[in-house]
């Protein structure tokens, strides 16, 4: 290990065939100190600080009132809208993404389609935030291309029908843009894991395609499907930049409320802001835990 020449008497003792010399046992922990220092400073400390803050009133005394205040109708509806949009885009994006991934894996399409889809998914799942909002304003905004085409050619005026880009549906359609490519990326390996032999075994036993999917394919894929959709849920739930630029803040989402709270005490209660953030972390933590458990389950059948 060391290139320094050492006295012979010492060397004979040191060169004993020990894999892990006992004296360096605590030293090896030094190697991970910088990383964990960073994590404690910039991840753990802020989290604990928000956690503690959510149990304090404006004088810094212990209280549970902030969590009671979360049931306030405006706050509650912020959570509710966030959850609904995340669910809708997770399911919608999940279904579209699944069928696309299905098409290029089991669906018998030429190989170039698959590599094209993988490139496009990588790009689209990373194309989010402010520019994505701009793109959808140019598409489905009041003077957007699709809005105008529907109006002039098909005679359908979206905005007369009550459609607004800064509403539930507008946001859902926009989020879908990064949701379904993410689904494609994550679910394709799972579909690859479906073995040909299973289908052949099913056919040998007299089963048709319907039997195969309902009795074999979907049950095996279900944990991965659900896991990925939960990932999509969390992905949409934490979105802030896209929602803010699309709506200018005119939608009651948890992230938007937290954003205005950081800029100034709009809730008139600092502790409530922290409780709001803490509530978000709880929802994300629960979904990530379910994701993790489902992922483990799916690995029993599929080696991903």
């Amino acid at each position: 290990m060391s290139s320094n020449p050492q006295p012979k008497s010492l060397n004979t003792k040191r060169d004993a065939p020990q894999v892990r010399p006992a004296n360096s046992d605590w030293k090896k922990w030094l190697g991970v100190v910088p990383f964990f220092l960073f994590v404690v400073l910039f991840i753990v400390l802020p989290s604990i600080s928000l956690f503690v803050g959510s149990f304090q009133d404006s004088q810094g005394k212990f209280t549970l009132k902030n969590f009671v205040d979360l049931t306030d109708p405006t706050i509650f509806s912020a959570y509710w809208v966030s959850i609904r949009i995340s669910l809708a885009t997770a399911v919608g994006g999940g279904i579209l993404g699944f069928f696309m991934a299905y098409a290029v894996t089991v669906g018998g399409l030429p190989r170039w389609v698959r590599s094209g889809l993988s490139t496009f998914s990588g790009v689209a799942s990373n194309f989010a935030g402010v520019p994505l909002a701009f793109a959808f304003i140019a598409t489905l905004g009041r003077t957007g291309m699709v809005t105008l085409i529907l109006k002039t050619i098909f005679g359908i005026d979206l905005y007369d029908q009550g459609f607004k880009l800064y509403s539930f549906w507008g946001l859902t359609l926009t989020y879908m843009y990064f949701q379904f490519p993410l689904m494609v990326l994550v679910i394709t390996p799972a579909l690859d894991g479906l073995k040909k032999e299973w289908r052949e075994a099913c056919e040998n036993l007299g089963g048709n395609s319907f039997h195969y999917w309902t009795k074999i394919g979907l049950p095996i894929l279900l944990p991965s499907l659900l896991a990925t959709m939960i990932l999509l849920f969390g992905n949409a739930f934490g979105a802030y930049a896209t929602a803010l630029s699309l709506t200018g803040g005119f939608i009651n989402l948890v992230t938007i409320v937290i954003g205005s709270q950081i800029k100034g005490d709009v809730l008139h209660n600092v502790g409530l802001g922290y409780a709001l953030a803490f509530g978000m972390v709880i929802i994300m933590a629960v979904s990530m835990t379910i994701y993790y458990i489902l992922r483990r389950r799916s690995e029993r059948w599929l080696r991903i």
Partner: protein
């Protein structure tokens, strides 16, 4: 089998339309800055705007430091854990997933709460704010960086390489920089480019810490008062993402490591 294939094409076409239509609409919109004719005026306006270059360069710099800090933190740690402390692997994997549990908006909320007041007072100086920004970005980039580096290390025989280097008299610095880094440079490059793609247009953390100095908040400002220019920015930003992803594919030959970006 024929029927199956038709449905396969159907879903691909639906997805491609979903992907392409907003891009066409945005591109079309970005060309209409001059009344009655198509022009690249919106693009010239953006490219001649000094603020565009200032904010873009600023975000590039922040991305550079983020990549540097991430590499310094993640590579030696992941390597060390693989070699000496395999029991910590679960822990570091869990930590690398934290950005999925703590959304950017909550992260920046916590960072401001802790570091703007006593005793740190980081937000009092520009330098302190940049440190905080890079720290936030490093956390955001952790999942990509860790996954990329971990995949890279899994593909090589870390133990044999280390022992071979040691038996030739190499110290830890030499092992890391001359043996490990070069062997996983593809993974490092793809992790770095993913980080760059995440950080360059990042809005949430930047808008609360540095505001209009960064590229994401600049785009947002343009969106509030310049319609055509915002479309051209969307196209520029899209091409940038495409370029970065293309580079990663070139290095990694289709191995995708990204899961989610900053929304």
């Amino acid at each position: 089998m024929k029927k199956v294939r038709i449905w396969s094409w159907f879903w691909i076409v639906v997805g491609v339309l979903y992907f392409v239509i907003p891009l066409i609409a945005t591109f079309d919109f970005s060309l209409r800055a001059k009344k009655g004719q198509l022009s690249f005026l919106a693009y010239t306006n953006i490219f001649t705007d000094p603020q565009f270059w200032q904010t873009f360069v600023f975000s590039l710099e922040m991305a550079f430091f983020t990549i540097l800090v991430s590499l310094i933190l993640v590579v030696p740690t992941t390597y060390w854990i693989r070699l000496k402390l395999p029991q910590l692997r679960v822990v570091i994997e869990f930590i690398s997933m934290m950005p999925f549990v703590i959304p950017a908006i909550v992260l920046v909320f916590g960072l401001i709460k802790v570091f703007s007041g006593y005793p740190f007072r980081l937000t009092d100086t520009n330098f302190g704010t940049y440190v905080l920004l890079v720290a936030g970005y490093t956390t955001l980039a952790m999942p990509y960086m860790f996954r990329a580096v971990d995949n890279g290390l899994a593909a090589i025989d870390v133990r044999s390489l280390t022992e071979a280097a040691q038996s030739l008299g190499a110290g830890w610095g030499t092992i890391l920089f001359k043996v490990i880094f070069p062997n996983i440079r593809v993974a490092l490059l793809s992790g770095s480019f993913l980080t760059l793609a995440t950080v360059i247009g990042e809005f949430t953390i930047a808008s609360f810490l540095v505001g209009i100095k960064a590229f994401g908040p600049y785009m947002s400002l343009i969106g509030q008062n310049k319609t055509y220019e915002s479309s051209s920015l969307a196209i520029i930003s899209f091409l940038l993402t495409w370029g970065l992803m293309g580079l990663i594919q070139l290095f990694a030959r289709g191995e995708q490591t990204n899961l989610a970006g900053a929304r």
